[in-house]
């Protein structure tokens, strides 16, 4: 996109846009859930066992909602003349999915699980929610009260 072609292109480029650092991203999907303009999207690709992160710069309003909701600070917002400009070139990338050790379904991003293991006890993180419920239900004793 050449600069200064038309007023609309100029205005698009003058708008602050999110700067995405892929190394910090854990693919939790908070940014995609927070985005009201539909510029950020996250969709699972179960055949390839990956989750695809997609950014459409033309749809972005530059509101900065995604930066507030990102738990790791992988997205920040910057004016167009920022020196971090090259990072904005990331428009589509993908992250691996984690397989449930019990039922074998893909249930979350593997990086998100690794991030959670640093925050909460990781004894149950390898299982999907349905398998966790099943384990909790089985462990309920027949005679509590």
């Amino acid at each position: 996109m050449a600069a200064g072609n038309s007023p609309i292109v100029n205005r698009l480029q003058a708008r602050p846009q999110p700067v995405f650092r892929q190394t910090l991203c854990i693919a939790c999907g908070a940014c995609a859930a927070a985005c009201r303009a539909g510029a950020l999207a996250m969709r699972p690709d179960l055949e390839k066992a990956r989750v695809i992160w997609r950014f459409v710069p033309e749809a972005c309003m530059g509101c900065g909602r995604c930066t507030r909701y990102c738990p790791t600070g992988a997205i920040t917002i910057a004016p167009p003349e920022d020196e971090l400009r090259p990072f904005k070139a990331v428009k589509e990338t993908s992250f691996p999915l984690q397989k449930c050790s019990c039922c074998g379904h893909h249930y979350a991003s593997a990086l998100e699980i690794a991030h959670l293991a640093t925050l909460v006890p990781d004894t149950f993180l390898n299982n999907c929610t349905a398998c966790r419920r099943l384990r909790a239900a089985r462990s309920l004793s027949l005679a509590y009260f």
Binding site: P44, E112, T129, L134, A136
Partner: protein, 187 residues
Amino acid sequence: MRFVRRQFIIPDKAKCLGCYTCLATCTLVHKEAGAVPYPRMFLTPTAQGSVPLQCRQCDQAPCMEVCPVYAIEVQGAAVVLNEKKCVGCGICVLACPIGCIEIQAVRQAAATGVVLATSVLLPLILSEQDEKKMRKVAVKCDLCYFRPEGPACVKVCPTKALTLVNEEDIRLLNLQRRQAYASLIGS
């Protein structure tokens, strides 16, 4: 630190029939209160019978610790999720040890139109345009904190399989067990 005595609901495997009355009541009560009309509990079938599982209101709640928008907070005896703050990222779902939070989807405008689909199925049955109109929120048990008479599921269960337990009950139960053990080794 929480200074309120914690409470939670525990099911009885032997008494539960699997009739789904608790799930229906949960949906109805929360719909009337203006919350997302979805059941807050999960009927889980096991070999010994079905059990309705729900949030245990952990003291150091992992969901509360990992929430990026601080939408989960303590209100009274319950850990309550603020649906207005929730963005539906689903990190609390993964942090829950017993899997009793799920992401559900409602129509963007209000909670009146119910679409019976979980977010796991949404990408499969909806187009990308449809999905933008949906709002995803996490849904968890809040012990019906808006009801002064206590959780509705405990009241309606036909076989009284659900019990609301507080710290006093746990203390008494421990005492009973210690006494039973003491009489066992005394005899």
